[in-house]
Amino acid sequence: MSSVAPADRAVTPPPAERPKAGRALPVNLRQSGIYIAFGLIVALFAVLTDGQLLSPQNISNIIVQNSYILILSIGMILIIIGGHIDLSVGSVVAVTGAIAAVLMVDHNVPWPVAIVLTLLAGAAIGAWQGYWIAYFGIPAFIVTLAGMLVFRALTLTVLGNKGIGPFPDEVRTIANGFLSGYFGNIGLGPLGGADLFTLLVALALVGGYVGLGWRNRQGRIGYGQKVEPFAVFVLKNALAIVVVMFMAVQLARFKNMPWVLVLLGVLVLGSTLVMNRAVFGRHVYALGGNPLAARLSGIKVKSVSFWLFVNMGVLSAIAGIVFAGRLNQAGPTAGNMFELDAIAAAFIGGAAVQGGVGKVIGAITGGLIMGVINNGMSLLGAPSERVMLIKGLVLLAAVAFDIWAKRRAGTSR
């Protein structure tokens, strides 16, 4: 065992370590840029509207008004991470809303049964599109473009070109209503009374977030991995606590917690967990990152793609019910352009056009950025064409930033 080679090995500088220093900043910025941007946009509109943006009622409005887009953007970011796209969600929202309306209003099906049937219809629609995409091999862009037309047409057929309503009170409550204050109100001094339950939930969330973060950090330290400095950890958590508690207090002061926020919270937590910890979530990232390598690693890429679209169908049905319940009627133009808002939310929230990258919470933030722009500009009395203009430019800027950051990282390689 004589060898030139091992000596060589010792001399060769480990190439992987070189880019570390120059790279830390852009990678970080690429990940956290979206949250910083969100903070700046909120601050900007808070100032421009003399604090109106952050008033108790308006915060509640932003959440309720954007809930269906946010629900859609959860499914959309998963699909985009997997390397696909879905242009049909707006039409699927419309057709599922119409199905719910026909069942509940025309046929007097009890509302819980009707909701289950509607969700199943959403799953079936997703399975239909997923089949063509995953097993037949037609690009998602084409299949869902066709779906956009097909399901809009079905909506018009089901509804007979008119709106159907009104919905049962329970359904309207899910979309528009608030939890009853389980523990009553407490006084917050000069801020007035506030719903105790909302505050407790927020405290539990914050506690859980910080606790999990701490556990993770300790775990990494245990494995001798690098972690962010303690001060940064504290600062990040403090910021999260302040933001969440501020929103909770404002919500609690207005009314109790909106039902859609509960729904949204469950969906966000659930999908985040799946994407981070479940085998399925990992396979989605692997599929989007390199489908060829994923296939040769034994990942059932077709099945993963298929279930992504089924999931999107179900989420579209949820959004369809919420949207119809909110308007108290299912209409033929429901969900128009929702797909574009959901796609924009995902890309503003840091998804990569090629797939493989993105986070659920990023898409939610992206959706909220657009929601805040919408809301803030309408508070300022801006005409809708200007709102559209700004939203378009924000989308372009977000993706341009992402590509710029990637290119910077790439050149240091």
């Binding site: 065992m1 004589s2 060898s3 030139v4 080679a5 091992p6 060589d8 090995r9 001399v11 060769t12 480990p14 190439p15 992987a16 370590e17 880019p19 570390k20 775990g219 494995y223 991995q225 690098k226 910890r277 479940a278 085998v279 399925f280 990992r282 396979h283 990232y285 692997a286 990152g289 390199n290 060829l292 390598a293 994923a294 296939r295 040769l296 690693s297 034994g298 990942i299 059932k300 990569a352 493989g356 990258v357 390689r413």
Partner: protein, 512 residues
């Protein structure tokens, strides 16, 4: 030599990791057919890319003199203007365009107002097709032609550019015998018209049949130029191609070989893209526990195709044959099933097929064995971390942490991540396709050590490699493939580069 059309002197070309060409000299006489041969990676294609301006002047050092004038090409159009045309191994026809459109692509026959003159285009194309002996209508789409005819269209395209020196890179690699024969005849005809040809080929019998001289490259250097007008034997060429000493570039190992683990019988695979072409033809081989077996072959011999078709039919159509694992027949139809049967395949192209470059080391290592880390569909994060850490240390993956993206690693470290991934699936049959391609010398030694360790753990390892010294250096047994067939099996004691090269070049005509 007095009447040289081309003189290349002192050509040196360096890539970040390797010196691809070192002080290479090439002289081609006017009006001859000049063959260039050498092992894969000897620098043949790089030399041709220097000549045709793919690597522009300044990218290499040395001088090129064409028709007595020094040349400094800045791009491929530049060299074409001087009459040097290269036809690449992968044909570059646009499938939906017609033959005539392909011939004049980028060089369109224009009429009035700069519009394309279709009559002239098709008429002139027909003349060119006649010259190369292709009886096809010029308006036929290129995709309707077989590979052999596409090759002829490429040559017609070269003729349309008033070619003085025609370079063909492995022109017959994908052709059947009669198409090859026709092509070689055509080259002789062009020579008689005064067109000089440079042909890169692995097929020694063809070189003997058609070439007037042969230049042999090895490890990026010119070894010799043989005058083929005398009687030059294939063995003479082979010894020039492989003649290097095997010094201590491989770690020692005492093999401990057990019983049979995998047996492949009568394995036949058809090409999914070229209708009816047989890529693997009745191949049979056996792997035993603790054994490292090599699979030698030149480009296009069907080694990767054999491996991938066995690995869950991830390549090919019309697959027939039998695979036995520990004596029982298995029929893995998907990669997932193949992995469940304990097979693993590490691809020759890590970046395209092996790794998720934007994902970190940890998740690349766990990608194939993720189920083993999960309970009821939920991944145990901490264990995943532990596993990745363990392999990082065991395999000596040089990275600041297992959270480093795979795309930031060097080739050697990327390969270690791929090998870790397959080790973690607990595979007992590992097929490693070109495991040291694009890896520097130091890291190669480490990869060899890892391969040895795999065998010492009782796994069977099949190594596909184009580097004969590597196969001879680490394998207990080596199979050779040519044209889809297993043409020979050599034990470690008997393995010499000459012997392997003899089997590897044993296409049907030369079968003894």
């Amino acid at each position: 030599m007095t009447d040289a059309i081309l003189r290349m002197r002192g050509i040196t070309k360096t890539f970040p990791a390797v010196k691809a060409l070192q002080d290479v000299t090439l002289e081609v006489r006017r009006g001859e057919i000049h063959a260039i041969c050498g092992e894969n990676g000897a620098g043949k294609s790089t030399l041709m890319k220097v000549l045709s301006g793919v690597y522009p002047h300044g990218d290499y050092s040395g001088d090129i003199e064409f028709e007595g004038e020094p040349c400094r090409f800045s791009g491929i159009r530049d060299s074409e203007r001087r009459g040097i045309v290269i036809i690449h191994q992968e044909l570059a026809l646009s499938p939906y365009l017609s033959i005539a459109e392909n011939i004049y692509l980028g060089n369109e026959r224009r009429g009035r107002f700069g519009l394309i003159d279709w009559n002239r285009t098709n008429a002139e194309a027909a003349e060119l097709l006649d010259r190369v002996g292709l009886r096809e209508n010029p308006v036929t789409p290129a995709m309707d032609l077989g590979v052999g005819k596409q090759q002829l269209v490429e040559i017609a395209k070269a003729l349309s550019k008033r070619v003085r020196l025609l370079i063909l890179d492995e022109p017959t690699a994908a052709l059947n015998d009669s198409d090859s024969e026709h092509l070689l005849d055509l080259l002789r005809g062009l020579r008689d018209e005064g067109i000089t040809c440079v042909i890169i080929s692995h097929k020694l019998n063809e070189i003997r049949a058609v070439a007037d001289s042969t230049t042999i490259l090895r490890d990026g250097r010119t070894i010799e130029t043989l005058d083929m007008r005398g009687d030059v034997s294939e063995d003479r060429i082979i010894s020039g191609m492989v003649g290097r000493d095997l010094d201590h570039r491989f770690p020692d190992r005492v093999p401990d070989i057990g019983g049979e683990v995998l047996r492949i019988e009568d394995w036949t695979v058809h090409s999914p893209t070229q209708h009816g072409r047989v890529v693997v033809d009745g191949a049979a081989l056996t792997l035993r526990r603790g054994e490292i077996v090599g699979l030698a072959g030149l480009m296009g011999a069907g080694r990767t195709e054999l491996a991938m078709s066995v690995f869950g039919r991830s390549y090919g159509i019309g697959i027939t044959g039998r695979v036995y694992k520990n004596g029982e027949e298995i029929t893995p139809r998907t990669v997932t099933e193949a992995i469940r049967h304990g097979l693993a395949y590490a691809t020759e192209d890590r970046k395209t097929y092996g790794l998720n470059l934007i994902e970190d080391i940890r998740r690349n290592i766990s990608a194939a064995g993720l189920r083993g880390l999960a309970r009821a569909g939920w991944v145990d994060d901490n264990r995943e971390f532990e596993v990745a850490e363990r392999y990082r240390k065991e395999m000596n993956i040089k990275a600041p942490s297992v959270l480093t993206p795979a795309g930031q690693l060097s080739g050697g470290n990327q390969q270690k991540v791929v090998l870790s991934k397959w080790m973690f699936t607990d595979a007992d049959v590992l097929i490693l396709d070109e495991p040291t391609r694009g890896i520097d010398v130091g890291a190669k030694y480490e990869i060899y050590s890892i391969i040895n360790r795999m065998a010492d753990q009782g796994r069977a390892v099949l190594v596909i490699s184009s580097e004969l010294p590597e196969l001879i250096g680490i394998c207990d047994r080596v199979y050779a493939m040519a044209a889809g067939r297993i043409t020979g099996e050599v034990s470690r004691a008997d393995a010499t580069p000459e012997r392997l090269m003899h089997y590897m070049t044993q296409t049907e005509e030369t079968t003894a």
